[in-house]
């Protein structure tokens, strides 16, 4: 009996080993497919760590590629996407970038969501002289304190979005402010930028309390109480995702938002507002993406194509993904080749029209002028929406040029 059992484990064991060896052999012998034609784009994102945001991103990316290729591609060659998951780890992202460059022979790296992953790739791009078009990471340092020749960013940064909100918030008479933000770099940057811009316009405001719950670990009841105890006139919220849902529910129950102005960074993005359904907060000043109300022809065309392809509505991730690939197509067209130096030169100062409006990549700091939508939340048909919104062009929300120059490492 025992011998039989031994034999069985032995056989299963050898089977698994043989299987592993087989896969290994396959991976070593698989010659890289040298199709001369397509231009490969190495796109990295956190598809497993924050799928609610990154899956729409990928849908936007694929739509754009489909449209670009339908019109003959770029430089007469089709774009081919090589999409990889970074598992939410910066070290993994760097390894995958190496693999994309040396094994998949991609022309450039694009994508990413989390700031630290974006920063890891910024460092990588600078050292290895690889073009990196950061799609979504918000950290200011990506193009400022740690910026380099090979890194560009599409989405408006933390500073820019906080500045948009602060300028609107300054119009409100509230003087006593409290802040709540997740306890990590993005939260800290978002609070610092908001304070800086708001106090510059309104020297009379004071910040009476700040709360720093752990990211996705908020103890919402206790945090709401702590904010209420400071008796602020207005609250600046940076929490998002599951933290936001808990904060909103506890805050409503405990009356935190009554007779107070609440300003929410990213709160109006469908990724974070829609899960709240009928309990979405009303009357908050937020940045977001009111896809249902944007009636420019460019956006209408994008919306129709997106809904035609997916039977779903776009999120902020979708439009960022779409614009990222428009950027890639435009920059390669302008460069006339996939030579990295030529592409970098082409991307500096590149302008094109996106569904959200014209976008320019500043030569000064490699940040795009893509803007954000700022407006007020309301409830309609049992779901949260943005009303009275305006599109704020990113170009109006930069610090003065010499300040930016001073922040960027000289090279």
């Amino acid at each position: 009996m025992n011998r039989l059992k031994h034999a069985i484990t032995g056989i299963t064991g050898s089977g698994i080993l043989a299987g592993l060896a087989f896969v290994l052999a396959g991976s070593l012998h698989a010659a890289p497919a040298f199709a001369a034609d397509p231009i490969r784009i190495g796109d990295i994102n956190s598809y497993k760590r924050l799928p609610a945001h990154t899956i729409p991103y990928k849908m936007g990316v694929e739509l754009a590629i489909e449209e670009i290729n339908a019109e003959g591609g770029v430089l007469g060659r089709p774009l081919e996407l090589v999409s990889r998951d970074d598992a939410g780890k910066p070290g993994e992202a760097v390894k995958i970038a190496e693999e994309l460059i040396s094994k998949d022979r991609v022309a450039l790296i694009s994508g990413t969501l989390f700031s630290h992953i974006g920063l890891a790739l910024t460092s990588f791009a600078g050292e290895k002289k690889v073009l990196y078009v950061a799609a979504e990471p918000l950290a200011d340092a990506l193009v400022w304190a740690n910026g380099n020749r090979y890194t560009f960013r599409l989405r408006p940064s933390t500073y820019m979005q906080a500045s948009m909100l602060a300028r609107e918030a300054a119009k409100n008479p509230a003087k006593r402010w409290a802040t709540i933000a997740p306890n990590y770099a993005y939260g800290k940057d978002a609070v610092a930028a908001f304070k800086k811009v708001l106090t510059a316009i309104r020297p009379d405001v004071e910040f009476v309390a700040e709360q720093w719950p752990g990211l996705f670990k908020i103890d919402a009841g206790a945090e709401v109480q702590a904010l209420a105890a400071a008796e602020p006139e207005a609250i600046y919220n940076v929490t998002f995702g599951g933290d936001l849902a808990k904060f909103v529910r506890e805050g409503k129950l405990r009356g935190l938002f009554e007779d107070r102005l609440v300003v929410g960074l990213l709160t109006g993005e469908p990724e974070y507002l829609d899960p709240l359904k009928g309990e979405a907060p009303e009357g908050w000043l937020v940045t977001g993406y009111p896809w249902y109300d944007i009636d420019t022809p460019e956006h209408a065309a994008f919306l129709a194509a997106y809904q035609g392809k997916y039977d779903d509505y776009p999120r902020i991730g979708s439009i960022v993904g779409y614009n990222t690939m428009l950027t890639v197509a435009a920059l390669i067209t302008r460069a006339g080749s996939t030579d990295t130096e030529a592409m970098v030169d082409a991307l500096e100062g590149l302008s094109f029209d996106a569904p959200t409006g014209p976008i320019t990549f500043r030569a000064l700091d490699h940040q795009s002028t893509m803007g954000a939508y700022v407006g007020w939340t309301t409830l309609e048909d049992g779901r949260g929406k943005m009303v009275d919104w305006t599109y704020m062009d990113g170009a109006d929300h930069f610090p003065p040029d010499d300040e930016v120059r001073a922040m960027r490492p000289s090279s």
Binding site: I16, P90, V94, A120, E127, N183, Y184, Q225, G241, R254
Partner: protein
Amino acid sequence: MNDLGFYLVQALTGLSSASALFLVASGLSIIFGVTRVVNFAHGSFYMLGAYIAYTFVERLGGALGFWAAVLLAGVAVGAIGVVVELLILRRVYQAPELFQLVATFGVILVIQDLALLTWGAEDLFGPAAPGLEGTVNILGTRLPEYDLALIALSLVVLGALTLLFHRTRWGTLVRAATEDREMVGALGVNQSWLFTGTFFLGSMLAGLGGAAQLPKGGADLLMDFNILAAVFVVVVVGGMGSIPGAFLAAVLISELGAFGILVIPQSTLVLMFVVMAVVLIFRPWGLLGRPEAPGQHGQVGPPEPPLRPPGPRLRAAGLLLLAVLLALPAFADDFTLVLAVEIAIMALFAASLHFAMGPGGMVSFGHAAFFGGGAYAAALLVKYAGSPMEVALLFAPAMAGVLALLFGWFCVRLTGVYLAMLTLAFAQVGWSIVFQWGEVTGGDDGILGIWPSEWASNRLAFYYLSMLASAGGILALQYVLHSPFGYAMRACRDSVVRSASIGIDVRRQQWFAFAFSGALAGLAGGLFVFSKGSVFPDEMSIPRSFDALIMVLLGGVKTVLGPLAGAVTFTWLQDEIGRLEYWRFVLGALIIAIVVAFPQGIAGFLRARLGPWFGVREMEA
């Protein structure tokens, strides 16, 4: 606002937060107490409870429907726990201590992808509990009614568990098994069903906890990992296996959290780990736990035979491997070299952990502290002193060694899982310092631009450099293992009393061994920084510690070559499978398959097949 009302409501809010924590932690505590399985998948059961309850609430509706859904979700998760126990864990109870946690790690990965497939990517916002949507006014401050319901629920569960364990035969048996499971088995109790029953109860409590917190939040895909650390802290602070202890610890930690944020709002990251460290330093078995009897750390199977120096054939095989590595660049592409560097670094990291937890007998759940510590030491030296890579690479193991001396001084006073959890606590404290101290460490924006010196900056040179350092580190560990120091260390593991009686200072021996292991983990961390060009707090975080743990156990903790086999398999599998869309499911399933097929680890399996030819004696069964 009335001050008294405010503090009262804050205290009650803390109690209600303690509720979910207690439910989940009590389940984990029961499972560990009886089966000695460190169930990493417990957070996944909690997450499944929330998702399943959400689905049931939508189907059933109404006040009755809500509570029925919560209960049903608990039962359903209990059933899932039974399936995991029957199909996977039951096959590996005889494996070396802690091996089962690799299987539960595989379960986490599988459940993550299954939940994504079933419920989609978007967060599900929990429904309010019908009839309890409002608030009550306590001296002018509002408290949600559901908070009171949660407090009541946790008290009911505490009462029910107390009755179950003290008034029923099954409960008595569970308590007896927690004390001494060999004895219970010898008395003719069917252990298999006792274990299965325990798993049902423990998983059910986790599911119940997830379901009951729905009205406080909802269900999302990050819930599993987000609660895991907190739950382990509660179980350890309370004392493993103690239900009242878990309750006390959950309340203590939640209340400290609720009031802590009033004083230091940034304390959210670190507070509970500081509590755990303090409790373990003064009460090494938790608040209400009891000291483990000697020789009862869940060691099963025959004792390990003494280590022998490798025979000539094994040495030849090692030389052959080195020769292959030396020649690899001649026929491998660039990326293979990158991957080989990563594998080599991970192998050194795993080997350093193996040194402590295998022959040293000191399991570390926080080994990333030294890996990340070395990484940060190197990066900080480059950033602030402009030091060249060569100096930074020496500085990394030195500082990691110093860090390990500091942590080790406290840790070696403990044994078994408590020691492991204290290392985790220190690692988390270290992590939060790096994370929070943005002015110096860059916080989670990390330190960028840490690249090798000019001569080592091309792939080939860096490949040889990392191979030299990693192989050197691993050989140093081997050398020490077979030196008098290594013999004394193994003696301390096998018998504290006998080692002490022949004049070995047991604690000092273990302390230095721990520090040596930490220093080599630091060397791995130093290499890692220069291979990636940047460092982030992730390298000090719990998942990084788990990586090493998984590699060592997967490879085989009782074999010297285990960590190498584990590092190669794990790192390479991750890379190979990473291209698939549902890579977590595939990787998790593969890990489970490997665990079930090789209960002695991969190297353990190979030793059983090939050992005799290499002159390695198989352990006598």
